[in-house]
Subunit: 496 residues, 4 copies
């Protein structure tokens, strides 16, 4: 039974202070939790290097921490730390984990669990049958209940990660089953929520996806080796060939004798892939459930034009994620596409925070308007979403200062009105401007002339032709499975 | 008298080995030498922070090293090191050089001088009249002769930088003149070549540009403070207002009593601003000599279409510098503009070099083709230049693999045929494919169906309306001033 | 029942190759596993800083890794990493874990468990009743059995540390008991081997020592705060006052209401404190079981003179641990004490390994003979132990080269003939020269004129007056409790 | 003519505040400026590695910065930075400067010049004849005058180092002479003060010492290679053989054809080697001017006993520099030598500063009294010097707290009463307690029962038999050459 999430819309109270709080850079956009990768090579190859390159391609899915575990004839060598892939893995460190023929990797943005080292994945543990590594993308809805259950049997937890809970679930079943894959199969019955998993045992690589298929997971081949990745762009980077998506509920087992699929958990519930993967999370060059992400974004632009047309001279997008929808809108409308902003290529690295002085804000450090493009013009400005509204207001202001006559903001997704329980940081209505204001009020707050959001109906048609259904709960409140009243705050905070 | 640079075109010999050498990532594109910045504030402000933000905006002009010197009532506090701006200047280090009211900054890509620390600018020295800091963008043609002259008088050199030579020239004159600006004025008579300089003395900030004006340099205001920068995008980042360009040959003196200009070196020779600043070096949001860089790039696309039309279904650009010209070509031709590549946002940071394995090349790590955009289509592919051809071949191959039916490569500049002596690393005909092959041969080598370069005539009209003439010597061989037969190799190499 | 450890003395075969293998620096001496510290302050104080200073004083007990956990009203903040205390804890990091009123700290040398981060202590886990931190000095004899037991119940292990096993043991009991101290009391019945523990729960600090009391553990007061430490030198450093030793088998509970002792495990077996703590491990300024370590070392020198007199002109010690025994021998014999070696104060930090060239060895980098002291003289050279013999040979050679006429080596402990199972790295007879050669053969190998070891009888009288018995198993083979046939090799190796 | 330095003894005013200011750790003891090393090998050898090891042995002479310059067939490769030798030179960095057959190295403690990177030696410059590297130990008295002279001729300075002044002096002469050695010979006439120099040209290694021979400099052989070093302990570490001291005023030239000596500057003035080298600066295992440093220190203890006997039960020294004199005093007096303190082996690395809390002081972190040694006893406590008195008071207090009945402090040098102009940081009478108080007052201030300093006469007999005279100006005020009224403060301060 699906629980309806009740919204308590606070009335708009004309206050502008809501937009001026000192926000950290990290909170200015919605974040995905993670990216995962696995490789099984029957032949000798540098699996650590391939995993490194794949994580590098998946870096957009998690910039806080990363890790690689290599299985060298049963010995699990690994390295993981807080930082970007190229920071954590120097040439020297990568060299130290060379060897072996199976590997799993992970990039992390922490939605649950602190950002300290103990939470960095893949989780590597040893149970009765030997070592096991787990890389997880998603969020369990029943992690707290499972944690309590294992604690009541004497379990101890080092981290606040769902992957440690999953480790217990698999381990518990492993004691009763004949193989790791049977253990995973049995464990899946206990796990509720979003999980795309890559699990490595001494002999096998196992990939599986929750029955709803919230997060993507694909299978590819690199020569004779098998690879699994959160997104197909990782395959392109290492020169692997896309084979197929892992099905919602499917367990794929790769071992010496070949590849097998366990489908006992498939098709018991309607699939519900996160539609925001298409709008923002995934890289445009990835293919999810058979549909190109870029194609979906171009369509978002088309739909936006249909739903919210405007008389304008130029269409511009907010880099990088608004560009494709802007191009789509331009094509649909015939209004010329222009480059409205230059984004500092080195952005995200400075320690500068907003409001360090009256003149400086971090939007200005990151983005500069191209006057030539907008001066004296009526501008359609396309972005993928509005979270708090602060950044949008600054962006609109940049274009206004650069001489735009009119600014029509178009958002290639519907308003966020509900928390996400499935692996993103849309965690509280308190941070969502659309929970507090009507659209016309938001328009006023961000300083636009008009504001149009994509409809919920349209967002569900972005990836028409995809072999899956979608989760639009953050927009609609229609959760595909029962969710708790609120997202629990972790009480086990640890610094560093 | 202008010396003609003689070319000895080697005949095309059908060898393909020229394209397969193991090239470092850094050599795959032409590089600018430097970016400079200066600020003079009569009032109390955080000049170190403003310089930091400005250098961050100028980072594209030099990624090897950077430095900031702050003048705190005559005490010169500074920090410089090898690395990007955000790497070299942590919050803590920036805090340590806070205070003061004048500052100069520099970002460096080393064309001459090794990449070791001693060459990092600004150059800070003490002469008889006190400390002096010099930030330099450009290359002297007569640095070697001047160096010998000063050595013969007992001078010693710590670096292989032109800025140390300039320091000697200014110091020599300072002993005979009453002020630093008179010393700079006199020194300019001795310096031949390209130099946009920002010089700081205990009391003054001086900006000047060589009489040809090879490299850009602009003046702005930030409240009551004056700022100078290589590009106007630095002004936008810190919220400063563009005032005007520094004229070729002009010396601008900023001190307590205000701002003055010395124009004795102006208008004695025709101006010759580097036209490749518009094509590639500068940021599209900058304005050089009154013309928007983005505007010039859009025009390059238009010209390309006029000079080299092609039947095609989509126009794509190579990120980031080919995108604007692609958009211009699309607009001129009516052929739809598409996003053909996704560039890894984190590129440039991995230690991975090309040819580490047969399957992996660094172009693939950096760029991924968007199949959706090019599959089954006739593609016009726009890039800004071809240096060795290796990278172009790989890029064409990516698009071919992604299913393009035809690939028509269009280059938004003429072929490089001559070394540059004025501050870029186009240093030797040995590395330039256009010195070794005819265009049809290059087309074959890079695997394109057709190949068209912009004409020399067209490149000189990219910035029509600019208040300056242009240097196109790297394309035409017409050097605006006498140059040596070859670019001398430095013999004073020092590691680290 | 005590199992006798059978030795299979290989016969001496005149080979010298045994001494020339390329040994890592770390293996040139016997190492202790760990040092522990805990503080409970009812009042507001900087417990992180006190722990830092205490660990700094205990650094000699473990140089590979360290960690501090602070309990700030139930929130456990911590930082741990590989490295020395001053390396791991910068001012900034220490600042981040400030606050709170209870803390535990640990310095580690890894005898079991790899040197990777996951093994760094204190172990911090969360069980059903909340978080728990454990710092452990010693080695369990039955860790493997317990590990298997917990794994069979679904337990998973992140590390190869005994402290994780202990965490499970305490957690298991915690589910059945009303308090953490009752859980510890119950768990002690399951643990066999050496363990001095400091355990922190949300409300309490618990210190306990195994019933044999293998490793030291002392209680002190710092104002109104209670402190526990492996050695009393930590008390002196922070200005705390020594109160008393924790008794073998005793559990001390410190909480808001005061301090209590649980003695159910006391005095059931004879105490067996490691006698090598006096000979080498502990700092000379510490007091163990009522006897000054320095006093014991001076006595070792006296005993050595009685057991192995020699006609000589000067007595010198190998820094630092041989100096006290040398002074004692000098006093007993009346032969002048001299400074025979200067030790590089910065030693232990260079990456230089032995045998990098024929002329360079790491003993020479570390130690230099003082010619003035030994030239032309008959020298008594005192050291604390001989492990492989390689280092001893080099040291003897240094003195020989410096002109000594005769060299009489005296070792302030008996020959190592048996592995230690209680927290040191005397782990295999393969590495012990005394298991392979008779004393006269060792003497010949190290190049001495005569060689005398302290007798087993004497070593048991070094600390006469101590309120404990001693374990001399590494010398005598008399293990105070049953031990396995061999020390198991860890199969769960992980790099970094 | 020798200028007498007039002292203005301030009267003792019973204030105790003088001892309680918050002093940085670095100021608690007198510091030497530098150590130098050079190697010339006709054959292929790893000169960078030998220099590294030698600097490691000389580390006590300078802990702030270090550098190595290698001459690889005329190319000067180098690395220098702020930090200890093992910190600045990782394996990787040392590998990068491998090759070549000549090298110079330097360790630095900055007495003049800031601690920023530009001042790190060796100084590497290029003059008309090619590159030159200079490593300098000492201080010029006329550096300011020379600097002005070169500035007036157009010279520019990057650093505030005397070695840059020396570079100019040598370069000036090099233009007029046929060889680098003639240039050095001529330059020496201009330099006044203390300088032990190692100079490297493309073909030669030159070592020279000022005519007074203030700082030591020795010549050795390593196989067929020649080595020069500040102290002979560097020779022992690399296995080199001591040949002889470089004479005061001597210039030694090492080149392909062999070794030569230029003695034109020798024996024109009486030699005046710094006597405090024996007391404190040099390592005890070094031989200076034919006399063992340790021998001199033992003699200091003998003299102390003769000049200031005391009824006592034990003699202890303050580690490390007071230990030898304590041993000498013990031998002379027959009073037993004891180990009174344990010094934390890791000291000097923590960021902890004194007075962070009432209970903690950095002396306690560094040193711990051994109660066993001093409890209930009359103690003679030997240290090498007293600068401000603060540290001495804390040390006396440690022994008092440990139960000593009487404490008789003996200092193995006379009171510091005058600044040193020759390469140490005894720079101002303001910091010297002996300039402000009579001895009995100092005794009271530091809390001793009696206090005895070595007499000036005795200190001049410590190294009887040395082939040199001594400078005792810091004690006596008798400067061997004219000195300025005060030590000038540098105005060219630069951070980082």
């Amino acid at each position: 039974m699906i629980k309806k999430y009740k919204l308590s819309h606070k009335k708009y109270n004309a206050s502008t202070t809501i937009l001026t709080s000192n926000l950290s850079h990290l909170n200015s956009h919605v974040h995905e939790e993670c990216g995962v990768f696995g490789i099984y090579s029957a032949e000798k190859t540098n699996v650590a290097m391939q995993t490194y390159l794949a994580l590098y391609a998946l870096q957009h899915r998690g910039q806080e921490a990363c890790g690689i575990v290599v299985n060298d004839r049963g010995i699990f060598n690994y390295h993981k730390d807080v930082g970007l892939v190229h920071e954590v893995f120097t040439k020297d460190i990568l060299h130290r984990i060379e060897g072996g023929n199976i590997a799993v990797g992970h990039v992390r943005y922490s939605t649950t669990g602190g950002s300290n080292r103990v939470n960095v994945q893949p989780m590597v543990v040893r149970h009765m049958k030997g070592p096991m590594a787990i890389a997880h993308n998603g969020n369990l809805v029943n992690a707290g209940e499972l944690r309590s259950e294992y604690e009541l049997r004497g379990g101890i937890f080092h981290s606040t990660n769902d992957s440690e809970v999953i480790s217990y679930a698999v381990t518990e079943e492993r004691l009763k089953t004949r193989s790791i894959e049977e253990a995973v199969e049995a464990a899946l019955s206990k796990l509720s929520g979003a999980f795309s998993l890559v699990i490595m045992s001494p002999q096998k690589l196992i990939a599986c996806r929750d029955p709803h298929g919230f997060r993507p997971l694909s299978l590819g081949k690199l020569g004779k080796a098998y690879v699994v990745a959160s997104e197909t762009c990782a395959f392109d980077t290492i020169g692997a060939k896309f084979e197929r998506d892992i099905e919602p509920g499917e367990i794929v087992v790769i071992e010496d004798s070949g590849i097998r699929s366990i489908s006992t958990h498939c098709k018991k519930v309607p699939s519900a892939t996160c539609v925001f993967e298409y709008v923002y999370f995934a890289r445009p060059d990835s293919i999810i459930s058979g549909v190109s992400v870029q194609h979906a974004r171009l369509r978002a632009g088309e739909f936006l034009w249909k739903e919210h047309p405007a008389d304008a001279d130029v269409v511009i997008g907010v880099p990088d994620s608004g560009l494709d929808a802007a191009l789509g809108l331009s094509r649909a409308s015939g209004i010329p596409y222009g480059v409205g902003f230059i984004k500092n290529r080195y952005v995200g690295r400075t320690f500068i925070q907003p409001s360090q002085s009256d003149r400086t804000d971090n939007v200005r450090i990151k983005l500069n308007a191209v006057r030539e493009t907008v001066r004296g013009k009526r501008v359609i400005l396309v972005d993928d979403s509005i979270v708090r509204g602060t950044t949008s207001r600054r962006i609109v202001n940049l274009i206004r200062e650069a001489g735009a006559r009119e600014i029509h903001v178009r958002i290639s997704s519907p308003p966020f009105k509900n928390p996400c329980f499935f692996g993103t940081d849309i965690d509280s209505r308190d941070n969502l401007i659309a929970c507090k204001m009507e659209i016309e009020e938001i328009c006023y707050q961000i300083g636009a002339d008009t504001l149009g959001y994509l409809s919920i109906d349209a967002v569900n048609h972005l990836a028409d032709g995809a072999n899956c259904g979608f989760c639009d709960a953050c927009f609609s409140g229609n959760y595909p499975l029962p969710v708790p009243d609120e997202i629990p705050k972790d009480k086990f905070e640890m610094k560093i």
